[in-house]
Amino acid sequence: MEQIQRKLAEYTASLYNEKILDEQFIQLQQLQDESNPDFVVEVVSLFFEDSERLLNELAKALNQTNVDFKKLDANVHQLKGSSSSIGAQRVQRVCISFRNYCDDRNVEGCLKCLQQVKIEYTLVKNKLETLFKLEKQFVDAGGSFPVV
């Protein structure tokens, strides 16, 4: 149990160190209580759904011959909002530069950013899934989260 706890703590710390998550995520965890025991997981799942939809939209929009930059910008804005709400900091950062390229109407840059966003998103998704798995293990082993 202690091992799991330690592993969990290390993993969490690494996520913050690598800037994959920021303190917004901590806030989310704070909101989880008895009345809302799966709050974080719910929010994160919603984030995954939303992001995948948005990434598809972005890829479709960039495939057009006449790229609709306004629509592109709107979608990136959404993605930025979602990622900042759950604290997916890296994704948010890429979204910011993505928006700059949209403003400059730079298709090359946008494509590059799209790649980057996908990478970051996949990364944060994997990390969060691992985190949840570890937490589940922890909870199953009888642990309970300290109030942060």
Partner: protein, 754 residues
Amino acid sequence: MGSLLRMNRLLSSIVESCNCIIDPQLPADDLLMKYQYISDFFIALAYFSIPVELIYFVKKSAVFPYRWVLVQFGAFIVLCGATHLINLWTFNMHTRNVAIVMTTAKALTALVSCVTALMLVHIIPDLLSVKTRELFLKKKAAQLDREMGIIRTQEETGRHVRMLTHEIRSTLDRHTILKTTLVELGRTLALEECALWMPTRAGIELQLSYTLRHQNPVGLTVPIQLPVINQVFGTNHVVKISPNSPVAKLRPAGKYMPGEVVAVRVPLLHLSNFQINDWPELSTKRYALMVLMLPSDSARQWHVHELELVEVVADQVAVALSHAAILEESMRARDLLMEQNVALDLARREAEMAVRARNDFLAVMNHEMRTPMHAIIALSSLLQETDLTPEQRLMVETILKSSNLLATLINDVLDLSRLEDGSLQLDIGTFNLHALFREVLSLIKPIASVKKLFVTLSLSSDLPEYVIGDEKRLMQILLNVVGNAVKFSKEGSVSISAFVAKSDSLRDPRAPEFFAVPSENHFYLRVQIKDSGIGITPQDIPNLFSKFTQSQALATTNSGGTGLGLAICKRFVNLMEGHIWIESEGLGKGSTAIFIIKLGIPGRANESKLPFVTKLPANHMQMSFQGLKVLVMDENGVSRMVTKGLLTHLGCDVTTVGSRDECLRVVTHEHKVVFMDVSMQGINCYEVAVVIHERFGKRHGRPLIVALTGNTDRVTKENCMRVGMDGVILKPVSVDKMRSVLSELLEHGVVLES
């Protein structure tokens, strides 16, 4: 003669009749008669043919003014001839008729001759004068011829000049002008050699610049002060010079008879020679020398019209050269300007890029730097809560302290950048001034007591308790200055005193331009921090407020400051329309820091911002908002869910909507607060606020509207205030922040962005 003849004939008849002895004397008379006979005949012939000839030739000629005289003359001659002809018949015995005819003829002849003689008296002078006139006319004709010759030469000269000028002026290139001049002059005047000497830069010598034919060494120079050159430069006419003068010695020696040489000056006009209203002054001019040589051995001489031609050409050349010079200048100026333009453009673009890069950098660093700090600080403080061994606790505390320092440094740097940017604005609010000072004191006291320093605070009695200003930054200023005082004092005391500045104390001799005018709504706070520390030398005082500089004495004590503190303080004080300075009597004599800032007086504030709220201490906050009905409007599903979770955690009854229309449909007067995300595209979410205002009219009936936004720039805030929102909050919102926001909202109906 006739009578003699008759007598002779009579005698001869007598003799014949007698046939006597007189015979040997008479054959002579026969011969004489015969001769007379022949002569008369020929005379008559001549007399008759002369008029014929005359008539013939006169008929042939077109002009003969004396026809009448001719007729007379003809008549005279004819009659004379007739007379002589008739004489032929009178040698022998002739009848009386013949005598009568003869007599008539003679009488007529006599008449005509006399008349003719009389006429000739008139005519012959005339004829003679015709000759004189003829001579006169010949002379006149010769003169006209001469003049014609002159005119023709002049016209040719003019033509040449025109042609030369045209050639010279057809180009704006200096070298072409000069070369063309020489070539054309050489051609027109058939010169042997034509050379141009230009003054050197220094003006001491003339250098041979162009020659027509001979390949002279082009570096040949002569000093400019030769008498012959002075002579030429002294007049604008062409001057004949000796072929032996140095400027004319251009031909290989050994010619028999060098041709004549002339020289003329060519003025080189410079722009600066033109005064505004005067013609160019020729006094301080530079001249070039043009030397023209006639071919040797040709015995040609310089004619006046040729000299005139040369003068005119020299003038034209001067004009053409000046044009060329002006053109060169203006082209050079234009090129220079273009270069400068390009350079300036580049510099501007680089500057823009630099600014943009800096802004991007700041934007990123803002987030980048603070986040790990947060993580470190948060996790270390978490760690502090757990069970630790004493060594571990010490280690964690050190980590915390260091990271706090680092966080402060980062904030300082970012603040200063924003301050320099001019983008920093004060967060004005009402706060308790006395409490602020007391807090500063309590923060400083521990450090001071470690160093065994006494710290005293004295607040004047007329200092208001609540004031309007930027509390956080004032605290920063105080902490900085007091901190410095403590840092640089090894012993003794630090005294802080604050009072309302009166007009005399507002003036500082060191800042005469600082003119403070207190008014009804504002007053000036003067704070003096006196310490008994190491003091400051007069040389260092001006540098105190510049970034990163530290005096030698300070640097050695390893003070561990960034050097930015005072610079930031100064910026803040300036933003507060104040002034800060430090006085010191010298090393070891301590120093006093004084600043004056402008603060507002509450209750009489006329600011257009949202009405201020006095910040209450934390323990007055409402802890639960059980059942509070709120509405959350956010287009972004994830963000919506998070906000909902936040509010639910605090106990609210949350309804969520995803669009403006839905919001307007759902909102009722039961909702106490509407949280609106305004970072949505389209900015039309402000409309919702307007509609809610309209729909719910009075303040007490309608829900409070709070904007949630990712950026708190002026524009967003202004927009929110314009549509009548009750507050603006920066996302991401933490639980604590939301809690305090809600409590403020419910207490005072309004919240300021925190």
